[in-house]
Every structure is written in structure tokens, then in C-alpha cells.
């Protein structure tokens, strides 16, 4: 295995090679402090405000693809082989503004201006994909960008007017695509990257087998995929994560395989990358998926990471457990498969040995039956659930034969409602049966009160969702839609 002790990437219009890189160096600090590219701002250092938004271009099997990320929680080492595009690179020569920037100016989309570079980057990425975005698409693209001054209305107007100021194909980024792809291809040497600054070490394995080997050698290493959680350990809790093994770049963990019976997602598949297959095979998750974090975090965060970090309030475990998902863990050459629900042992404790990693998630294709996924949060979008639930009820001849009801936010782990499930099985498929099961919920859960919700609300809303489930299955309008 070839080793390389520097990272190499494209930063705007030039190539950068860095050998002095630690595990916890962030892209934002590199941009602002080392490079004096101060257009990207730090607003929160936790991936919630989007003031640091930049675009990262990456080569995959589908070619060069750009996506927005939060530079504040993106680790510098992970940029190896990528093209980083900051606000400073969008305009043209002689101060010419890009159409996105021009539209923002003409529509008065900035007031204090501090969030503006990040908003411009998100709108730019949106515009590259959609020349004429709908309001809904604009709102979704801006889920990860906070603005405290404008009330967003002028920003939405600007986003819808961009194409009046030019076309994406005329942008220098478009013109440079092939050249950038060629440069990034040239950077791919198949080597393991092993860099350090002082005693802080970052490893980027060459492939999945190499990852297994690295973890065998460094079983206590911090495994980092999208860094949307680990990033905060560093920026907010000042935790040292060295040695860190970064896996977000591994194509071998990004595979999506669909068989007659199952959908298998590599652990490194991001929420954004999974969106298409989820929408196709699990239509009840479409609305739910859009409410996971903001766009930048969906571009970075992985389903494997969401599972592996064991949070009781992760968005995907409740709905995946309800679907009967299993996960494959790997240590060295040894794989083991377990039901996802068995992975969560207790708060902060998962069934993962040192040196072991989550390799993939396998989800049964949806059976005929009743499926639902609900997320309740203080703010509709880009918020952590107070309660999340996946529901999967099988009915034969009018009688419930199987029920899987999995809740997040109600216990120390994502957990099935055993008593409520038991109350359903054998009962007729009716509202009365569901309400009777809901009444059993206090036997399953004693939720906590915290800043997101009180225990009373958690229980009340969890119970009420049984009724929503019934009404929706009857085709009734029981949920708000922001059309």
C-alpha cells in the first residue's frame, strides 16, 4: 500500500498541497486564518447557520459533482482530491458578479451581509441544478442557512430571478469543469493518506479493505464519515479526535444496491445520495427525509454515521428499524450482520467492538402494509426531533398480524414500543385499535423533559400520532403541507 503524507486539493483556481495537517483542523479555519479568504464566515461553528457554506467538488463514478458543505465542521484532511470553491471564486474578472450575486444585489437580499456569502453559495449550488427553482426548492436549499435580518423574502425573490442575469453554462466554473475533473483525476493516486500536525494524526484509507486494516492497527481511532456530529466534538467541546480515520471519501462505502427484496446502502452514503433510492422505494419517507437537518448537512452526513454514533435522537434509526433494517459490521475481514434495533444497547453504548465499523445498511423493500414516518420538532425544518416515529403495520383480512412501532426521542435509545405493538397484533385494523395501542405507550416509555420538549408533550404527541396514522391511512387530510 502506497502511503502519502500530504493532502492535495484544488482551492478555487489553484492547487494546494499540505503536509502539516492535524485530525481536527477545520476547513473554515484554514480558509480564514491560513489563506485569509475571509468571505466565508463563522456564525455558529456547529453546522447550523450556514454562514461558512462553501462548495466542494468531488469525482465519483458519475463524474465531477459539486455540493454545499459547512466549512466550520468539515475537516481539512477530508478535502484531499476535492475542489473547494469559496465565495471569492464566484465572480468574474474586474469585479464582475455572478448572476446569483447580481440577483441578490438587485433584489436587496442582504442587509447586514454576514450570512450573505453562505446564502450565495447555497443559491449558487441550487442554480447549477435548477435554472428555475420553485419556492419549495429554494426553501429546501436554504434549510441550512440562517438570516436574521431580511426575513428571507428578498432572498427567495432573488433565487427565483437568477436566470434573468445569466446562465449557469456560461459561468467560469462550468467552463473549467473538464480541466478541474482532469486535475482531480490526476490527484487520485490510490494511496493511503497519513498526515499529522504535532501529535494530531489524520488517516484517509485508500479503500474499504485498507480501512479495515487501518482500524485493526488503530482500534481506538475516531471514525469520521460526514463529521456533522464529530465536527461539533471538536469545535464546541474541544475534544481531540486523533488519530482520526476519515471514511467519507471511500467510494466502496457509497454503493447503493437494490435487489428484489432489499435495498443496501453503503455506510458512507449521504442523506443526499440516498434521497433518490429512498424516494423510489420508500415513498412514505420523502417528506421525512427533507426534514433531516439542512442541505449542507444532508450533503455531508451519512446514514452509517447517524446509526454508528448511537444518538437516541438520530433521524434515521426509528424509521429504518420500523422497516426491519439490518446492519453489517466489519472488523478486519470478518463481517457480522445484526438487526439494526439490536445495535443500540443503552445510551451511548452500541454493539460495536474496537476496530469494527459499520459497513452497510440493508433495508427490506416495502411490503404491502401501512407505513408512516413522522418527525416532530420545535421548528419544522433543520431541527432535532423531539419525537420521531416509524410505523409499519401489516394487516391480513382486516386483522393486524404484525406491528413495528419505533420511536426516537422517547428513551435512551431508538426503541420499539413493545406494549403498544403487542396491543395491536390480533386486533382489527381500526382507529379504536390504534387508540388502544396508543394508550399503552406509557408502559413503553418514560420520556425526559429537556430544551426540546417536556415529557408530557412527548408522550401526548406520540400518542396523537397513532390517530394521525389512522386518518392518513384513510386518505384524510391530517397533516400540514407547505405546498
Amino acid at each position: 500500500m502506497q502511503h502519502r503524507s500530504e493532502i492535495r486539493f484544488l482551492l478555487n483556481g489553484r492547487q494546494v498541497a499540505l503536509s502539516d495537517v492535524g485530525a481536527d483542523d477545520t476547513l473554515l479555519d484554514f480558509l480564514r486564518i491560513d489563506q485569509r479568504l475571509t468571505g466565508s464566515k463563522e456564525g455558529c461553528a456547529e453546522g447550523d447557520c450556514g454562514a461558512c457554506t462553501v462548495m466542494v467538488g468531488r469525482l465519483s463514478a458519475q463524474g465531477l459533482h459539486y455540493e454545499t458543505v459547512n466549512a466550520c465542521i468539515r475537516f481539512l484532511a477530508t478535502l484531499d482530491g476535492c475542489h473547494v470553491v469559496t465565495i471569492e471564486y464566484l465572480g468574474g474578472p474586474n469585479g464582475r458578479l455572478s448572476p446569483v450575486q447580481q440577483a441578490m444585489v438587485e433584489h436587496h437580499g442582504s442587509q447586514c451581509g454576514f450570512c450573505t456569502p453562505g446564502i450565495v453559495m447555497s443559491l449558487y449550488a441550487l442554480w447549477m441544478a435548477h435554472a428555475h427553482p420553485t419556492v419549495k426548492q429554494v426553501e429546501t436549499a436554504l434549510q441550512g442557512n440562517l438570516c436574521r435580518c431580511t426575513g428571507y423574502a428578498p432572498i427567495i425573490r432573488a433565487a427565483q430571478a437568477v436566470t434573468e442575469y445569466g446562465t449557469a453554462s456560461a459561468e467560469h466554473l462550468a467552463a473549467e469543469r473538464e480541466a478541474v475533473a482532469a486535475k482531480l483525476t490526476a490527484l487520485k493516486d490510490g494511496a493511503r493518506v497519513d498526515v499529522a500536525k504535532g501529535d494530531s494524526r489524520a488517516i484517509l484509507p485508500a479503500n474499504v479493505d485498507d480501512l479495515a486494516a487501518v482500524l485493526e492497527a488503530e482500534p481506538e481511532a475516531t471514525i469520521v464519515a460526514g463529521s456533522t456530529d464529530v465536527g461539533l466534538w471538536v469545535t464546541k467541546f474541544l475534544k481531540r479526535i486523533s488519530p482520526a480515520v476519515f471514511i467519507g471519501h471511500l467510494d466502496g462505502l457509497k454503493e447503493i444496491a437494490v435487489t428484489e427484496d432489499t435495498v443496501t446502502l453503503g455506510a458512507g452514503v449521504t442523506y443526499t445520495e440516498a434521497q433518490g433510492v429512498i424516494a423510489q422505494h420508500y415513498p412514505h419517507l420523502v417528506d421525512y427525509w427533507d426534514r433531516i437537518a439542512g442541505w449542507q448537512v444532508r450533503n455531508m452526513g451519512t446514514i452509517g454515521g447517524n446509526i454508528a454514533n448511537g444518538s437516541p435522537i438520530g433521524d434515521t434509526p426509528p424509521v429504518l428499524i420500523a422497516l426491519g433494517a439490518s446492519i453489517t459490521l466489519r472488523k478486519g475481514d470478518v463481517q457480522r450482520v445484526m438487526p439494526l434495533e439490536a445495535f443500540f444497547i443503552a445510551y451511548g453504548k452500541q454493539d460495536r467492538a474496537a476496530g469494527e465499523f459499520v459497513e452497510s445498511i440493508t433495508i427490506p423493500r416495502v411490503s404491502a402494509g401501512h407505513h408512516a414516518a413522522y418527525k416532530i420538532s420545535k421548528r419544522r425544518e433543520e431541527d432535532i426531533s423531539s419525537v420521531a416515529v416509524g410505523m409499519n403495520v401489516t394487516v391480513e383480512n382486516g386483522i393486524i398480524t404484525q406491528a413495528v412501532l419505533t420511536f426516537g426521542g422517547m428513551a435512551a435509545t431508538p426503541k420499539r414500543a413493545a406494549a403498544a405493538e403487542a396491543a395491536l397484533v390480533g386486533q382489527p385494523w381500526s382507529e379504536a385499535s390504534l387508540l388502544a395501542a396508543a394508550a399503552k405507550l406509557p408502559e413503553d416509555f418514560q420520556p425526559l423533559s429537556d430544551m426540546r420538549a417536556t415529557a408530557d408533550y412527548r408522550m401526548k404527541v406520540a400518542q396523537n400520532l397513532f390517530r394521525r396514522f389512522w386518518l392518513e391511512q384513510q386518505g384524510e387530510d391530517a397533516r400540514l403541507a407547505r405546498a
Partner: protein, 770 residues
């Protein structure tokens, strides 16, 4: 007034924000973007991890010993006074000494070679506390006999007992109103550079550079003239940088002088939110008496506020809550009392509206109570209680309302929003039952303009015309996104009739205009615009006098035409004219000054004219509520707002839209939550939820009342716009209440507390269902 303008950037025209191009291209520099000199050090605060305690011991030896740490600052290192109280009450130590009074209070500062080293070193402190009982809630403070942080105020007119005795109905209730974090995208920051002698220059993200200057001098023990404070722009302020920058500016300056190196201090978002003040939370006990038609007879309210551990600006904030406890309504008999309560929380401070919104929300709650009690549309009750124009027009503080435009404004909005038909449709929808309920509400705003601290209503400006005809504009106001600089440059462009591109707006600095007031109370344009105009007028007068002498014409024949000066038959470009004036030794610069006329206020008596004028507005919101979960959407909002004769309609509209959404956040999803130990747990955007693009009204129609003109002689007859529209989204809050009330057929007032999170909405639904 010149109507036939052809200059770019004239007054009353739409013009982009002067920094818009820099904003979108990342070229606008904020404090943290200023290039750091070699050897710049970084400071970071060590703060208390307990809500109320005696400090038994503070061992900072490990902090000092950490590699890269240059030193530590505590109260003992303060050469001047260990105090940053903005009102001179000396109740706000910069560094705690014997006692901790809230979780997050500053104990010490570490100064290190990098910010990362400083942040990590802070964690090494060993502090031993002897905990004391703590109080978080205002009503709990009242119950436990906690002191006032500042003198309470009472406003009184008429005889409440008499009013109550004659009224057919009387309702007493309580409303809890939450606070709000500013969540400016740019957090606090200060960057100090030492100079010779006692001098120090501080770049600070502040709305009040003069106060930062005075506080730095106070802490350093040097005269004000040794300290310069600069601010080019802020990444948002909203009141959060009116006094809260003091601690950062003072510590940066202290460290810069001590080590003779540039020093920057920038808290992370968590520390910014834990250790700097917010909007005051209120508990309002109301008692309203009214007749069968819904007309109010008497109001007797007590406003207890969570002020935090020091007075800060809580005096004027709680005063302003009382000044707005009437909102737009005449109270024949009234008594309003404030209780500015000390609590073991961060000291609350200014925030857009400055206590006013809490007063207005409580007034609107009483309207709701009356409407639900009498089974009327709340709008009908509102109209029945509006201030009159010739009678029923005296406020609880004995100022006569002379400029009431609300009847016309509300009438127009009611028509343009199709309120009546939509209300009928909402009622019909709800009558069908169902999970999704709707609500609609129209609420008005009347907001008093002027600092109630009368001496604050003064401003200065400095205008230079250089001998090439280019103009430099400087004034005491600060730019935080509101477009103040743009609007004042428009005033100057209009005065000299030159394209606005000729005017360079320079950073706010205490070196150019001294003794400035905070850019606050919506007053930035009113005060500084007039001061700038005064400077322009002085220069123009000199130019005209010289031109009359030099060209032998009458003053009436010297005219400033678009980019030209006409002197009799002769026409000069502005540049040529200025060049000649310079050669003739005409003074081409002036310092302008302005003080607001007519205002006076006697706080002891509770009488006077604290406000020069009022700004008005009204809004209608329609919402949908999921009665199973408490979730909601705002389906539509229509706004009609009065900004007088707008200096820049598009910027003013931006203020209205932005204020609406910010106010909506305050009343809906923005919740401050403390745990049992007294720690604020909503201290970053991950836990504190301000509105997103997807939260704004689905249909959002915002209009300015283009017929309005300030009856007072304000700058170009415009009106202040920063704060008044913040209260417009009370209609969203009340519409949510209506949807909730629908589950009990509107028989009871929903009594929603703020913020109406989905949880509060669902719990109210459950309560209504009984």
C-alpha cells in the same frame, strides 16, 4: 422640495444598500476580517458554571502554565474600575470577585498566542463554589422577595377603582412572555491595538461606540480621549450590541495595554449566548374592565420582568413596556406598574422594540379576552378602543396622540387583505371539525419614537467636501444592516444634488464624532440624518455666500442642480464649483448637530411627552394548526406599514419584512430554556430555533402606506422603521390562538403564552378541550 431629480440616489428613491456588492462577494469586512498585526494575541473568557454561588477559591495556575498562554486577567488586573455598567450604577463587575450571580458570568480572561490555545486553557481553571439558591423566573423573584435591579415605574391616569366599578365586565389573568436571543449572525468581538501613552484603538462590533469608548476608559482608568472605538459594520445588532460589547472591548483593551500587543477576543456562539443579555421575559398580571360593547373602562396591570443579575438597560426597557402597554388603545382609567426583577440569569438588555413588544402583546391579550368573552371578532373590539383624534387621545403617560393614522391604515388593510371574507372562510373551515384548524387575525401597532432618556436624542455628523468635489460622510450612527449609511448618503446627495457615487461613507469612529448615542430606538436615520443635513446646510450656506460675493449675484440665483451648480447664467459642474471655492479659501467641511425638539419626560410624575411622534402599522395573518401535534404553518400575511415619507422605500420594506419574521420567531419557535441548575440550555442555533426560509408566510404581501407623511419636521418627513414593524406578527400569535380556540367553539380565550411553540399550542388545544 425638489421633485425633478435626476441624480442617482436622491432622497425618496429606491437604492441598493451601499455595501450590497461587497456583501455578496465576500468583500465586506467585519471585525474578525481585519488583518491581524504580527504578534496578535487572543483572549477568551473563563465563565462560571453555576447559577448562584460564593466563590470559595479560584486556582488559575494551570491556566497560566499552559503552553502558549501569555497571561490571565482577573479583577486584580484592572487599573481603573472593575465595572462595565452602562448606566453608571456600578453594579456590573467586569470580572466576578466574591460571588457568582449567573451561569456564564465572566470570572477571568486568558490571553494566549492563539484563540484555540486560549479556549482550551480556560478549561484548566479550578474553581470552588459554595452554591446558593438561585432564581430564574420573574414571578419567582417577586415571590421570593428578590430586589429590583433598578427603580420601578408607575404610570397612572384617571381612577382605576372608579372605572372598574362602572364596568359591566372585568377579567383578570396572567400572561407569560418569553425572552429572545438576538442571534445576530456575527457574534460579539473586539480587537484592540495599543498606542503610545495611554492610547488604545478598539475595533468593536457595537451599536454604541461612544459607550464602548467610555467603558474602556473607565476600566483602564484613563480619560475618554485616550480611547478610540471604530466600527465599519456589524453582522447584525438588534440591540444586542448596545451595551453587551462592553466586556469584550474592555478586556481586549486591557490586555492590549498590558502586553503591548494587539489582542482580539471572540467568544464562540455558546459563550456569546450564555454570557450576553437578551430580550426581557415578562410575566404580566392584567386586570381589564370593559362594557358590553367591548370598550375598555379600566386597566390595572403589573409587568414583572426577568432582568438578570444587573440593571444594564432594564430601567428604560421596563419603562418602555409600560409606554406601550396601551398599544393603540385608549384606557379611560389606567394604572401600569413595572417590576424590574433581579434574577440569577444573564442581565437582559436591549432588543428591537426595547420592552415595547411585551407591552403591546399584553395589550392585545386583553383585547382577545374581551372578544372571546363577548363573542366578537377581536378586530371589532380593537376598533372600538382605538385612540380618537380629538378626544379619547391621551396616553397613560399623559402625552396626547396627535398623529393617529390607524383608522385609515386598518381600514385599507382590512379591504386589501379581504379580511372579512377570509375570516368567514376560516370560521367555515373550522366548523367542519377536522384535525387541521385555521386562524386569522388583524393586529395594529403604534410605537413611540424617541429615546425616553431625553439627552440621548442628539446626534452629530461630519461632512467633508474635498477639493476635487468628492464628499466624505461620517456620522455617529452605526451600520448593522439597516441601510443607515445609504439613507444618510441619500440625504447628503439630495442636499448637494450630486450623484451618490460621489459620497464616501466612512466607518463610525469616536475620533470623528464624539459623544454619540447608541444606534438604537429606531432613531439612527432621524437623528444622524438631520445632523448630516445640518452639516450640508452649513457648507451650502458658505458656498452660496461666497458665490454671491464672487459672481455678484443674488443668493436666489445660486442653485444646486443635478451634478451642477448654477450661478446666474453660468453653469459649473459640482467639481469645478468646489475647486473654485477651495481656491477662494471657503471652508468646505462642517460638523452638523441635531437634537430632537418638543420632547420632555418627568419619570417621577409619569408625565410628559417622551415621544416626538408615533409610527403605525397593521398586519393580518392566516395560519393552519395541526391539533394533533401543535405544529403550524403561516399561510399568508398582509402588512401595511407607516414609515412616513420614506427616504428609501425598498430598504424600509426590507426592514418591515425582516422585523416581521424576527418578531414571528420571538412569538413562535424561539424559546429560551433553563435547566434545574440554572443553566441556559438553548445557547446555539442547534437548540435555539430562529425562523428559516421555510417558516415565513407562504404568501407575504408587504406594503408601505405611501400616503403617509410625518406631521413633525423629521428628516424629509420620514418615520423611523427599525422597531415598529417587529410587533406586526402579533397577528400570527393571535391567529394561532384562534385556531386553538376553535376546538372549544371560541367560547374561551385561548390564553396562549409566548413563544407559542408546537408544544404550547398542543397543550393549549388539550386545555381547551378540557
Amino acid at each position: 422640495m425638489k421633485q425633478n431629480v435626476s441624480i442617482r440616489g436622491a432622497a425618496h428613491t429606491d437604492l441598493i444598500h451601499d455595501s450590497a456588492i461587497k456583501h455578496v462577494s465576500g468583500g465586506a469586512d467585519y471585525c474578525d476580517d481585519i488583518a491581524e498585526p504580527v504578534g496578535t494575541l487572543h483572549a477568551y473568557f473563563g465563565t462560571a458554571k453555576v447559577a448562584h454561588a460564593k466563590i470559595v477559591s479560584m486556582d488559575l495556575s494551570a491556566v497560566r502554565a499552559a503552553p502558549g498562554v501569555v497571561g490571565v486577567l482577573t479583577a486584580e488586573d484592572v487599573p481603573g474600575v472593575n465595572d462595565v455598567s452602562p448606566t453608571g450604577r456600578h453594579d456590573e463587575p467586569l470580572f466576578a470577585t466574591e460571588k457568582v450571580e449567573f451561569w456564564g458570568q465572566v470570572l477571568f480572561a486568558v490571553v494566549a498566542e492563539s484563540r484555540d490555545i486560549a479556549r482550551r486553557a480556560v478549561e484548566l481553571a479550578q474553581i470552588e463554589y459554595a452554591p446558593l439558591d438561585h432564581v430564574i423566573e420573574a414571578d419567582e423573584a417577586v415571590a421570593k422577595g428578590y430586589p429590583h435591579v433598578t427603580d420601578p415605574m408607575t404610570l397612572q391616569r384617571g381612577d382605576v377603582a372608579e372605572g372598574q366599578a362602572g364596568a359591566a365586565h372585568r377579567i383578570q389573568g396572567q400572561m407569560r412572555i418569553g425572552g429572545q436571543d438576538h442571534m445576530y449572525l456575527e457574534g460579539h468581538i473586539a480587537f484592540a491595538m495599543p498606542g503610545e501613552d495611554d492610547d488604545v484603538i478598539v475595533h468593536s462590533s457595537t451599536q454604541h461606540p461612544s459607550e464602548a469608548q467610555h467603558m474602556v476608559a473607565h476600566v483602564l482608568g484613563v480619560p475618554n480621549n485616550a480611547v478610540v472605538v471604530n466600527v465599519r459594520r456589524m453582522g447584525g445588532g438588534f440591540g444586542g450590541k448596545e451595551s453587551q460589547m462592553n466586556q469584550f472591548a474592555a478586556v481586549a483593551a486591557l490586555a492590549a495595554k498590558k502586553w503591548n500587543r494587539a489582542v482580539k477576543i471572540r467568544p464562540d456562539r455558546d459563550q456569546d449566548m450564555e454570557s450576553t443579555g437578551k430580550r426581557h421575559d415578562f410575566v404580566v398580571d392584567y386586570d381589564v374592565a370593559f362594557d358590553d360593547t367591548g370598550r375598555i373602562e379600566a386597566v390595572d396591570n403589573v409587568f414583572a420582568a426577568r432582568c438578570g443579575w444587573t440593571s444594564d438597560l432594564s430601567g428604560p426597557v421596563t419603562d418602555r413596556a409600560l409606554f406601550h402597554a396601551d398599544n393603540a388603545y385608549f384606557y379611560p382609567h389606567v394604572k401600569l406598574q413595572s417590576r424590574p426583577m433581579k434574577t440569577n440569569t444573564v442581565s437582559n438588555t436591549a432588543f428591537r422594540g426595547f420592552g415595547g413588544p411585551q407591552g403591546v402583546v399584553a395589550a392585545e391579550r386583553m383585547i382577545e379576552e374581551i372578544a372571546y368573552k363577548l363573542g366578537k371578532d377581536p378586530l371589532e373590539v380593537r376598533k372600538a378602543n382605538f385612540y380618537g383624534t380629538t378626544d379619547r387621545n391621551v396616553t397613560p403617560y399623559h402625552q396626547t396622540v396627535e398623529d393617529n393614522v390607524l383608522p385609515r391604515l386598518v381600514e385599507e388593510l382590512e379591504q386589501s387583505s379581504d379580511y372579512q371574507a377570509r375570516r368567514a372562510a376560516v370560521l367555515a373551515h373550522n366548523a367542519k371539525g377536522g384535525v387541521i384548524r385555521k386562524g386569522i387575525s388583524l393586529t395594529p401597532v403604534k410605537f413611540g419614537i424617541s429615546f425616553t432618556a431625553t439627552w440621548y436624542n442628539q446626534a452629530g455628523a461630519l461632512v467633508h467636501i474635498y477639493n476635487d468635489g468628492s464628499i466624505m460622510l461620517n456620522h455617529g450612527g452605526t451600520e448593522m444592516g439597516q441601510g443607515l449609511n445609504t439613507k444618510i448618503a441619500q440625504v447628503v446627495a439630495e442636499a448637494f444634488q450630486v450623484d451618490i457615487d460621489h459620497i464616501k461613507i466612512t466607518k463610525t469612529t469616536t475620533e470623528k464624532v464624539p459623544n454619540t448615542s447608541a444606534t438604537a430606538a429606531s432613531s439612527g436615520t432621524d437623528l444622524n440624518g438631520m445632523a448630516a443635513l445640518n452639516a450640508c446646510d452649513q457648507i451650502k450656506e458658505r458656498l452660496i455666500r461666497w458665490a454671491c460675493d464672487h459672481f455678484g449675484v443674488d443668493a436666489l440665483l445660486v442653485k444646486f442642480a443635478p451634478n451642477e451648480v448654477h450661478v446666474g447664467d453660468q453653469v459649473f459642474t459640482f467639481g469645478e464649483f468646489i475647486k473654485q471655492a477651495y481656491m477662494a479659501r471657503v471652508q468646505l467641511w462642517a460638523a452638523g448637530f441635531y437634537k430632537t425638539p418638543k420632547i420632555h419626560w418627568d419619570r417621577e410624575k409619569g408625565q410628559g411627552r417622551p415621544f416626538y411622534y408615533y409610527a403605525y402599522g397593521a398586519a393580518v395573518a392566516e395560519v393552519s394548526v395541526d391539533t394533533l401535534t401543535g405544529e403550524y404553518t403561516v399561510d399568508r400575511a398582509d402588512v401595511l406599514h407607516d414609515v412616513g415619507k420614506s427616504l428609501n422605500p425598498v430598504l424600509d420594506k426590507g426592514q418591515v419584512e425582516g422585523a416581521f419574521v424576527q418578531g414571528m420567531g420571538w412569538l413562535t419557535t424561539e424559546e429560551l430554556w433553563w435547566d434545574q441548575k440554572g443553566q441556559l440550555k438553548t445557547h446555539a442555533p442547534s437548540t435555539y430555533k430562529i425562523p428559516l426560509a421555510g417558516d415565513i408566510p407562504r404568501e407575504f404581501n408587504v406594503n408601505l402606506a405611501d400616503w403617509s407623511e410625518n406631521r413633525e419636521l423629521t428628516i424629509k418627513r420620514s418615520k423611523a422603521v427599525g422597531e415598529p414593524p417587529f410587533m406586526l406578527p402579533i397577528c400570527v400569535f393571535e391567529a394561532l390562538g384562534m385556531a386553538v380556540a376553535s376546538v372549544a367553539d371560541y367560547a374561551k380565550c385561548p390564553r396562549l403564552d409566548a413563544p407559542a411553540t408546537p408544544e404550547r399550542v398542543l397543550m393549549a388545544v388539550e386545555r381547551m378541550r378540557g
